[in-house]
Symmetry: C2
Subunit: 549 residues, 2 copies
């Protein structure tokens, strides 16, 4: 039999095995160590300067040019590069073509600067390499995760001391779970909703075991639907696809003038769908706390009342807005979230954690029983194994990072960040209203706003003209805004995103510029610079695009 | 309006905002920096010594005692601790109660030591904080990810140069995707299988849009099943539950004497299920390359032939065994994997990446179209946005880590690790056969074996005795092995896991000790120490458990 001893005896192999062991355990030599120290020190102790120095905000280089260097698909047999060269290459050649999401000029997406200490916490988490799927590969970290989950649960539901004493370390109950991201959190919530609706009945053992076809027959229905506003995140559609409900069985509800779910329309839809003899069941109503495109919040309390009245599962997608609960000044915006059966919150968004950390919380500590799975070799019944009730198996210990962050920041620290975002966005909106080139489209309820280039004289024209002319003008404006956004992105100094928003007044979707203010270094000076640049690009556009009147 | 300027003007708030900014950007003072440097240096340049010094392998402390310190569920308003104290606390108070999965004495699970450079790569990835859901928050990293995916695809499918030139950077096709872990990879594969089976037909627009109930009706069936050996990972059951197929619609197939799927039984089952007029459809057959409990491999080629013959979707779960393809010596064990429509491989297992990294690969570069989702603000059609075809949304750039690791290790580096595991496991098995206290239960085909304490004289007795007496003896042996495993774990020097395996000879499940050899520092000296300890514990047990004859 070949065995490892023989490897040590053969000269040619000795070298390989030794080299491998060195690679495994420590830098191969002083040169390598010096290179590593040089970069790691910058990353760990001067993160923001490091990013400013090494990473482009965005850049002009086309995908076609960029991808030229990433064509080789062969894994070489022998090592291609030493660690120090790999690190140098990553930092000198790859990073400059990545995106500096930490720049205060990057205000286009829900990704921003993170406190430097988050990288320290992530590094420690990686070094410990615990797998929180089970106690045997995580021990105390599973216990700590349950504590962190209880803290955020308390932030949302604010139950009694007795409730939390009973559940914080209870191996039989679960207050929530960590997931890869908000999409998986929403899928998990709707998975639970599906199983709660289509449970045991007259000998039928439940949808999880028997499947949807048997479930619909046992429950005498032919369709399940999920109600959510037209601004619902596309993960809700994806969830219905994955779960076998069908992505077209989302009913996207009309918005009121504040871009919230129209509560009367919701009432009417629920009433229509819950009439006698209906073969359609409402699986869940989803309320949004911080819509991706507009940052707007649905009337969470009113939705909760409707759900309670009709005994419908209520999910709140607070992936974005959830952490606003830490601001005493603005937490009232989420009033009613405590009525939700489940709540999604993302750690990598407004908890400023590194990519990625999703979470979902449940009002009932036993509702996750409907999705539990056991195995002989792990996840045994009655154990604290966190993988029992989770869509994922192996997971890294993101709870360690959130545990540290909550202690370092305090809720007040997070509140300052969140209040800065909301208040800067409001000032941003005021500025837009004052500047003659721009038009606000959706006001910031939280820290997101949308606007477009649409000079005052065109706005006036749009107020007076007929439908056909409005469509013509909006078409030109759409193209104008597309070009301005792209040109600014490619110039590489700053980044604002764009999307399409349906505006009631026009009864059509228009292209808008979208800003997300979450970087504490983003201030009005920077915002005005970004607007100036947009104005400048607009002014340089050809008359065809520019001149509408 | 409140705005951020006012914060700077009020004295009490200025301090908070300033403190926050400091926390965000750099260590608050030299003391803090010194503490951070002290630990981060150990982690980055002496990882294995650091873990040895700070983390217990396993430990005696009960969950009840451990959880006493993790009861408080209130997020404090003001910061509780400074960063340096948090880091000190994590390392001095939390880490010792975590599990040292990197110890060569920890041979019980699929989690092990990782090369120190993996932590560097993870740190850089966290610092760059790219979100690979879309190009606008990742740019070059999305392009790099496509390249890495193509490299592993090539390792599995080994298609032509032309094939990879065409697809490596093709924005319309996808060779695979990164996911949180193997469970999500298996769910994704079966999601694709479901949608491939229940596609458009006679006006029906497909299961993803219309849901399973409509799909079964359109396709005139009342049940979908998935066939997998009895050793199939429990994520296959979970996948069928999530996807609406029903977890009980897994058909777990009998094993042959080598703990592989019994290919005749598979043929017979397929034949029975595909008879005319059957209202049951086979959604997929899953072949295992490295079963979780035994490390055994199904006859992948033969399964592939059956699938081809009957036009059945073929998924290979190579979460564990996939990287064996890099060993020229042992890649033949996976012969036939290239016939699979999809293949799961985990990065945090035998690619030695930090927690966690799942991947799934597809033979057809367009099959993922069946699960694509678009949105206005991201994931636009025709873009390279990687979130279009993925169960998750936001994702960290694990591809950066694998990119670096493949270059630093070369396939030969990985081959050495994998060959060491297989060959040490074989020697381990030989030793067990020679030692009179132990009995081998499943031989290592890869680097996993199961055995139990069952002294020679009891083995002899079991060979001769009747069924009733066999059951009685096995019951005592089960309890004995449970006690030995638990006692050894709690002593805290080493860790071997346990599970239950159905043994043909006994026609019942017996408790076994399970070892996974993946740590390159685990050698026969250490293994003999672990066996000695087990023997010693066994010898110290009360006669009731020990004396069976």
């Amino acid at each position: 039999m070949d065995n490892i001893t023989s490897i040590h005896q053969t000269k040619a192999l000795v070298a390989d095995w030794k080299a491998l062991m060195r690679t495994f355990i420590m830098p191969e030599n002083d040169v390598s160590r010096t290179v590593l120290v040089k970069y790691m020190e910058q990353i760990l102790f001067g993160l923001h300067d490091f990013l400013k120095k090494h990473v482009g905000i965005t850049e002009e280089i086309s995908l076609k040019v960029l991808s030229k260097d990433f064509q080789n698909t062969i894994i070489r047999k022998t090592p291609e590069k030493k660690l120090a060269d790999i690190i140098t290459d990553l930092i000198e050649n790859i990073a400059p073509h990545a995106v500096n999401v930490a720049s205060p000029y990057f205000i286009g997406h829900m990704t921003s600067a993170i406190p430097f200490f988050m990288v320290h916490l992530k590094t420690i988490t990686a070094a410990l390499n615990q797998n929180v799927v089970k106690l045997e590969t995580s021990k105390v970290v599973s216990v700590l995760e349950k504590q962190v989950l209880a803290k955020i649960h308390r932030l949302i539901y604010n139950n009694s001391d007795e409730f939390y004493s009973c559940h914080v370390q209870n191996v039989h109950t679960t207050l929530g779970c960590f997931l890869e991201d908000g999409t998986l959190a929403n899928i998990t919530a709707l998975w639970v909703a599906r199983n709660a609706l289509l449970g045991q009945k007259d000998g039928f053992t439940g949808v999880e075991k028997e499947g949807l076809y048997a479930a619909y027959k046992a429950h005498k229905i032919d369709r399940c639907v999920v109600l959510v506003s037209k601004l619902g995140h596309f993960s809700i559609r994806k969830a219905c696809g994955v779960l076998g409900i069908g992505s077209q069985n989302i009913i996207p509800l009309e918005l009121n003038q504040n871009y919230q779910i129209d509560i009367n329309m919701l009432r009417k839809t629920v009433k229509d769908l819950t009439s006698n003899h209906s073969k359609t069941k409402i699986m869940a109503i989803v309320g949004i706390a911080g819509a991706t495109e507009t940052g707007t919040l649905d009337p969470l309390y009113e939705i909760g009342e409707i759900c309670r009245e009709h005994n419908i599962y209520y999910h709140a997608d607070a992936a974005w807005g959830g952490p606003t609960l830490m601001s005493e000044k603005y937490s009232h915006l989420l009033k009613g979230i405590e009525l939700a059966d489940s709540v999604t919150i993302d750690g990598h968004k407004q908890l400023y954690m590194p990519m990625t950390c999703g979470m979902v919380y449940f009002k009932s500590p036993t509702i996750l029983d409907a999705i539990q799975y056991f195995a002989n070799y792990t996840n045994r019944p009655g154990s604290v194994d966190l993988g029992i009730k989770s869509i994922a198996g192996s997971r890294e210990a993101n709870s360690l990072i959130l545990h540290g962050a909550l202690k370092i920041m305090g809720s007040q620290g997070y509140a300052l960040l969140i209040e800065h975002g909301i208040e800067t966005a409001r000032e941003f909106a005021n500025t837009i209203k004052k500047r003659s080139t721009f038009q606000i489209v959706t006001n910031p309820e939280l820290n997101i706003l949308t606007y477009r280039i649409c000079p005052d004289y065109i706005q006036e024209k749009l107020n007076k003209t007929g439908k056909k002319e409005t469509i013509r003008i909006n078409k030109i404006l759409n193209e104008t805004n597309r070009v301005v956004q792209r040109t600014q992105r490619e110039a590489g100094n700053s980044f604002v995103s764009r999307t399409k928003i349906k505006v009631k007044k026009f009864d059509e979707e228009i292209v808008v510029l979208r800003s997300v203010i979450m970087n504490p270094m983003t201030n009005m000076k920077i915002i005005n610079e970004i607007l100036d640049e947009q104005e400048k690009i607009y002014n340089s556009l050809s008359p065809v695009l520019k001149k509408i009147a």
